[in-house]
Every structure is written in structure tokens, then in C-alpha cells.
Amino acid sequence: MLALDLLIQGLVQGSIYALIALGLTLVYGLLRILHVAHAALFTLGGYLGVLVTNATGSFLLAILVAMVTVGVTGMAVYRFAYRPLLGRSPLVALIASIGLFIASEELFRIVFGAYGLSYVDPPLQQRVQLFGDISLSVARIMVVVLAVVLLTVLGWLSVATRTGVAWRASVSDPPIAQAFGIDIERVRYLNFFVGSALAGAAGVMVALLNNLVEPTMGAVPSYKALAIIVLGGLGSVRGTLVAALSLGIIEAFGTIYIGNYLDRDAIAFAFLIVVLMIRPHGLLARG
């Protein structure tokens, strides 16, 4: 039974990773920037989720507000932080991004306090009995469902709509895509909106699972999400999904079986290094 329990834990954690990392993949695919500040947008989503739920009592409204606000903030980050640095070494954008991330973590702490906020009346806490004696809260199931739904929609949009085709074209070869009349600028803004909105949704869900938002909640996602998109082969939506779920599961099993020798992060990165040594371009790299 332990194995099944761990598998479920891993899948829930993996779904959260997927939601956070997917937005990052969208940004990375187009700009080739390691966007650390993505985790700050995730934190912003968490705060908005708690604040709006506590103010209005509607969790659904909170998710929507968080997704839209965070999405727009993401577009602003692109406009004012990354766009002026596009021709530069990606390292410059990376350090700018880290600076932005540190500053926003501090801003959350100064504005909302170091101890964080909680839901006054946390929604979706009913427990559902699964097979045997394993039960899960609705919130956990929601995380998995939300991840699956959002990812499926995104996957479908990228193959079935003109915007999706434009997006994939811009990822694989920007100059050629431009020559075909695709407005790359528009695609970039759209990507930042969608990617950031997904991070916002993830923030709301994580805040719900822990019933806590705190200034440092983005610390782990800031680097773990980067590891996931690299593991998935950078810029590949399907790869990101596979990487996020496998990392979630490996961490769940690893902390039980080899937790005496390595901590959670080290297990994740040991896996990452082994995979990259065998497949230097990630799990699902083309060619």
C-alpha cells in the first residue's frame, strides 16, 4: 500500500510542478531566458488567491482574478524587464531576473508580513475515499484535474488553432516565422500572459494545499521549475509534463528509500544529472 500512497503523493506534487513549469516552458521556448522571476509570479498568484477568497468568499473568483492579474503582470515583466535585454547574453537576463525575484520576495514580506497569510475558511477540504484506506482531500484531486485540463487545452490549442501554429513556428524558427507574417511580438506577449496565468493558478492551488502563503513560497519553484523544463528538453510542452510527473514521483519514492543519504532536492538533481548525461538534450528531445 505504501507504494501506491507514494505514487499518488508523487502525482499530486508532479501536477503542481507541471503547472508551474509549463508557463516557464512557454517563456523559455520563445525567448531562451531562464526566467527565475516566474516563481515570483507564482507567489503573487498565491497571495491574490488568499486575499480574494477571504474578501469575497468565492474561491472560483479568486482563481480567475489571480490568473488574469498575474498574466497581465507577466506581460509587464516582459515589456519592462526582458524586451530591452533580448539582444544580450542570456546571462544578463538571468541575473536581472534573479534581482527581480529577490526584490519581489522582499516586497511580499514588507507588504504582507514575514509570517504569511492563510485562508480564513479553506475551501475544498472534504476528503474523498479512494481504493482501500487511501483518502485524498478534494483540493489535492483538484490540483491533478486542473493540471490535466489546462495542459490538455494548451496542447490542443497549440495544434488546432492558428495562434497555436504561430506559437510553435515562432519557437522552432523565429526569423522564418516572421517571414511568414507572424507577429512575433504578439506571440511573446500572449506567451507571457498564458504562462504567467498558469503560474498564478498554481500559486492559488499550492496556497490551498498548505493553507498558507508566505514570501518565500517561490524559493523552491524558482530553481525546481528550471530543472524540470531542462529535464523535459527545453521548450517542449510534452517533455515538461513527463519531466514534472516523473520528478514528483521520484522525489516521493526517493525521500523514503534513499532519504538517509540525500535530501529531496539532491535526489531530484541527481536524477536530472543522470538523465542529462545519457540524454544531453533532455528526456524528450528531438533529434
Partner: protein
């Protein structure tokens, strides 16, 4: 005086540490997001040695050797991956180091190692030793940059494939960059451990790796004196911001961001700009 001595010693160690990363990232163009691990390897190696009775001066070389040896193997692994894959692989090495140390009782585990013996030559001696090490390593990198190896590093940083076409043995030079850079970090780690006299897994984490990378980029990638100035400034910054304790990190973050946003070439490019302007004026 003690306060000033501590600040300047820290500065010298930070400069040495940043210069060591500058060989890998600045000269050879290989990003490392896990350089603090090698500071840690040097710190732990030297601590184990001095705790068993060796003087610090005798522990410096083993610390550098140990870090350089691990750096060699990380360099070998780094040959397999490029660009952002390399950045994340080295980040992984950093997390792996911290994760292993945390679980090793022999290395103090989670709690770390306290009561590291003070060097028998005291604070002023450690200050002098740190400055000597930083200056020596700095001079060595100046020589390195002007040598044939420096040219090869530069070519690899510019365009690896072209460098290979020119007949440059790319793997060999990359490995050298890693060995020299990580050995320098190991040396810095030995000094660091005996300056603070406490080390723990959190002293060598992701934040420290980012901080040192920030010094290299803010200084201006590859520019030796730019990196020296940036390392000196950024290492002392938290102390200067003491008067705004609550906003210290906020300012630090904003400073990193605005420097990159408005001077993407780092300090070196700002000075170049002034030079060009005055040259045109005259």
C-alpha cells in the same frame, strides 16, 4: 579596527571566489550555477585538516586540490551538455553537494561544524593571507588571459564550433577552465571557513552560487578588474545597507535588476562608455 579587518578580509575572499568563477564563466563562457559547492569543498576539506591539528597554511593546497579534482569530474560531465543544460547541470551539482553534506554526520550534517580553530597568526595574519591569495590568483588570471590558453578560452566562449574548426582542443581547455576555477574556489573556501569559523550546508547553497555569478556578470563578463570591483562592492553592500535593515535585500535585488537593465555589459561597459566619450571630447 577588528570590524574593518573583518570587512576587508571578507572582501578579499569574495574577490578570490569571484575571480575563480570568472575563469570558467568569464573567460571560457561556461555558465556555472553551482560554484558555491567548490567553495564548500575547500571549506570542509581545510576544516577537517585543521581540526586534526594541521596549520591553515598547510591546509590551503589540499583544499584547492580537492576542489580542483571534483571540478575536473564535474568538468568531464559538463562536456556532455551545453548552454542552459550546462547551467542547470551545474546547479544540480550545487544541490547535490548540499544534499550530501546535510546527511553526512562526519561533516556535521544539518548542524554544520562549529569551533573551527583560529589560525595561529590571528586576524591581521588572515587578512594578509587572504589578500595575498586574492592578488596571486588575480595575477595568475591576468597571465592566463594573455596566454595562448586565454585566446583559446576566448574563442570557445565566442563560438565553440568555430573554435573546434580552428583546431582548438575544446574539451581540453574547458576542463582546464573548470579545474583552475574550482581550485581557486577551494582556496577561497579554506580562507572563508577560518574567517567565519563555522560552516554548515546552508553556507554553500544556491543563493551563494547566484551571488558569486552576479558578481561576475555585474562586473562585466570576462573583465578582471570589473569583477574585482563588483565582488568588493557586492560583498560589502549588505553591511552598508545595515541602516535600512528591513529593506536591505529589496535594495540588493533592485540594484541587480537595474544594473543589468540599464548597463547590461556590467561595470566594465560603463567605464568604457565614459572613456569613449572623453576620447571623443578631446
Amino acid at each position: 579596527m577588528i570590524y574593518e579587518m573583518v570587512v576587508v578580509t571578507n572582501m578579499a575572499i569574495a574577490i578570490l571566489f569571484a575571480l575563480s568563477l570568472n575563469v570558467i564563466t568569464g573567460f571560457c563562457g561556461q555558465v556555472s550555477l553551482g560554484h558555491a559547492a567548490f567553495l564548500g569543498i575547500g571549506a570542509y576539506t581545510s576544516t577537517l585538516l585543521t581540526k586534526s591539528g594541521l596549520p591553515l597554511t598547510a591546509a590551503l593546497v589540499p583544499a584547492a586540490l580537492m576542489a580542483g579534482t571534483v571540478g575536473f569530474f564535474v568538468g568531464l560531465a559538463a562536456l556532455r551538455v551545453r548552454h542552459d543544460f550546462l547551467a542547470i547541470t551545474t546547479m544540480g551539482v550545487g544541490f547535490l553537494f548540499v544534499g550530501i553534506v546535510r546527511k553526512q554526520d562526519a561533516l556535521g550534517g544539518e548542524i554544520g561544524i562549529a569551533g573551527i580553530p583560529a589560525p595561529d597568526f590571528g586576524r591581521p595574519g588572515l587578512l594578509v593571507l587572504s589578500i595575498v591569495c586574492a592578488v596571486a590568483f588575480g595575477a595568475f588570471t591576468v597571465m592566463l588571459k594573455r596566454s595562448w590558453a586565454g585566446f583559446a578560452f576566448n574563442a570557445i566562449a565566442d563560438d565553440e564550433d568555430t573554435a573546434r574548426l580552428l583546431g582548438i582542443d575544446v574539451p581540453k581547455f574547458k576542463l582546464w577552465a573548470f579545474v583552475i576555477g574550482t581550485a581557486g574556489a577551494g582556496l577561497a573556501g579554506a580562507l572563508y571557513a577560518h574567517q567565519i569559523r563555522y560552516i554548515g550546508p546552508d553556507s554553500f547553497g544556491f543563493v551563494e552560487s547566484i551571488t558569486v555569478l552576479a558578481m561576475v556578470i555585474v562586473g562585466g563578463i570576462g573583465s578582471i578588474w570589473g569583477v574585482v570591483v563588483a565582488a568588493a562592492l557586492l560583498s560589502a553592500l549588505p553591511q552598508w545597507f545595515q541602516f535600512v535593515e528591513n529593506y536591505k535585500l529589496l535594495l540588493y535585488g533592485l540594484l541587480l535588476f537595474t544594473t543589468m537593465r540599464f548597463a547590461p555589459g556590467g561595470l566594465a561597459s560603463i567605464v568604457d562608455r565614459f572613456k569613449n566619450r572623453s576620447a571623443r571630447g578631446s
